[in-house]
């Protein structure tokens, strides 16, 4: 394991690249804020430092690792992980290196599923578990659209309630532009979907139902009422398996309620995590 400190990618944040998995998987970890540790697991579209994470950093030390393969200059590291088991072990090594024994976990979408898997494998590492529109289950009547196969415009419209809003523009590059910046943003986006998709293709149910009972931490589900990607019905799959867990439905939000209704989601999380 090795640690490299880098120039910050956002004001006031610190970025370190940590090598785990016998040095073969390099993960950049962005952290900011003060207070108890909060580990944030990003979704299938890569880590974007946004007002949501800034708001959490006012009360917590937010620690946001990049999913393996999405760290710049370490794209091919993803080929060293064969499946979910490898990925979960990597996160355990990463937290060990960071000296985080016990923390609040917040995960979005794919990241919500990974946070839950790590919490099931290492129940003592997690103090509180908050999942925003997590993946992890499959119900035939509630088909989860394969976002990886959507045209750019349709993808935005499936993820965001308002596909033309500022939050949508921050996460997804303009699909019409051909300049270098738009192209590299498109590369980052497609590669983030590919490297996360590796663990959930073609159906994002990889056996969490067999393991979720091991989670010890109190859990909160946050779901956008108008989620067009992972229907809100999936909240039941989590709550009926996690005794004492509760669901917070966010009005006027799609698959990214934390970016669409940031203030109210941050308020709910702060209350739950503190």
């Amino acid at each position: 394991m090795s640690v490299r400190v880098e120039a910050p990618i956002v004001a006031g944040a610190e970025a370190r690249t940590i090598a785990v998995w016998q040095g073969r998987v390099r993960v950049r970890v962005v952290s900011k804020g003060r207070g108890p540790a909060l580990v944030f697991f990003h979704g299938p579209w890569g880590l974007t430092w946004d007002p949501f994470l800034d708001a959490l950093a006012e009360s917590f030390t937010v620690v946001a690792p990049e999913h393996p393969g999405t760290t710049p200059e370490a794209h091919d590291d993803i080929y060293h992980l064969d499946g979910l088991w490898d990925l979960v072990l990597c996160y355990d090594e990463l937290l060990e290196t960071l000296g985080i024994r016990n923390a609040a976990f917040v995960g979005h979408s794919f990241g919500g599923m990974i946070a839950c898997e790590v919490a099931a494998a290492y129940p003592d590492r997690v103090r509180r578990l908050a999942m925003v529109a997590p993946l992890g289950f499959w119900r035939d009547p509630d088909h989860i659209v394969n976002w990886m196969m959507l045209e750019p415009g349709a993808l935005r419209a499936h993820v965001f309630r308002d596909p033309d809003g500022e939050a949508a523009r921050r996460m997804f590059p303009r699909s019409d532009a051909q300049d270098a910046e738009a192209t590299s943003a498109r590369v980052r986006l497609v590669w983030a979907m590919g490297t996360t998709g590796k663990f959930i293709w073609p159906i994002p149910d990889k056996g969490l139902k067999k393991r979720i009972h091991r989670v010890k931490a109190p859990a909160l589900l946050v779901w956008g009422r108008e989620d067009r990607l992972v229907p809100v019905a999936y909240a039941d799959e989590f709550t009926r398996r996690l005794p004492g867990s509760r669901v917070q439905i966010v009005e006027a939000a799609g698959h990214v309620p934390h970016l669409e209704q940031t203030a109210s989601v941050v308020r709910v999380l702060r209350e739950f995590l503190t």
Partner: protein, 417 residues
Amino acid sequence: MKISAFHLMPYRELPADFEQRYESVWVTPPWWELADARRVGQYYNWTLDELQYAAKCGFDGVCTNEHHQNAYGFMPSPNLMGSVLARATNGTNVAIVQMGATLPTSNPPLRVAEEYAMLDCISGGRLVAGLPLGSPMDVNLCYGITPMEHRERYREAVELTLKAWQAREIFSWNGRYFQLATVNLWPRPIQEPHPPVWIPGSGSISTFDFAVEHDVCYCFLSYSGAKSAKTMMDGYWRVVTDKGRDRNPYRAGFLQLVVVAENDARAEEKYARHVEYFYHKCLHVPAMWFSPPGNQDYRSLVATLNNPVRRAENPKSLRYRDFVEKGFVIAGSPATVRDRLKEEVIKSLRVGNLMVLLQIGSMPHELALENIELFGREVLPDLRDVWEDEGWVNHWWPERLRQRTGALPAGIAAGGA
């Protein structure tokens, strides 16, 4: 020069407004609305008849290929078709060119090694073993293989297949994707050390490297004709040279759509709507489906997104004359077709193993037979000697067939179809 007849086995009677009404010809076309099993049985038999007829008309080989869940070309098991053809062509010099069974979707991929060995045995050593990667629609969308593992699985499966054909001892295979404790293939192919291998591709740089490193024949399966393939094939020949291989034209295969008639005007009358059916309906697939995230490695992804010019023109905006003019289809009188094939395709791309698609889209059986017969009689004999003066050996053709041609065209007049 070796010239083979290729067949996709398309659904020939899709509704006129198919591409407006349905999302895609691949993966999601609704069977119960569009198709009829008895009719499809007729198609399979026509397909076999057309390929057998090509064998009688002097073609050097007959080609089948694997695709799933579509109306574009649906031989989910090309080896079932190849088996019929191997049996039916026994006693001839026609190669059975399987283009072929898809390794990453066969588990274990030894199944392909076994079936190919069976085909080689049944045909008396006339098999060409195509080892395709498989399209993302087939492999990732229909068969559920993770896009990021698609190429890795393929590469491991190719190594396993080659070893399984040749190993003198029983061996164990402790791979990343496949684990087999006792590999001992029954049967083994007749051809030694193994049947010639062709690797079909669609222009990906990593496939060039793979084909040249393994010293196999790279086949560019394109529907956009030779003009747009030129840059790609020049790139392939650069890799061949860079890696120290000779410029043997038989290292390259190419697929070309061809329609022949008495003259150019008659070709348009007879074939225009079938060509348009093919490009407008049979290729009706959302662009995103060709490149699921993770299917291309990072290096190729960067290259593709930085060079959007490589994206093919939208064929739905083109009509028959455009397809002919651009060379997507080579069409016209025997003289026109001969000249264009020789100059645009064979010489320009340096192709020794040519495949021609002669049943196109909605083309009915009788018309397909006409096209095959005319090509075999008036075009094929003139192309056969193109590379003869350079003295190359086609190492990628069954050895016992290298010096021979297919059935004599005279046999057609005597025996008919």
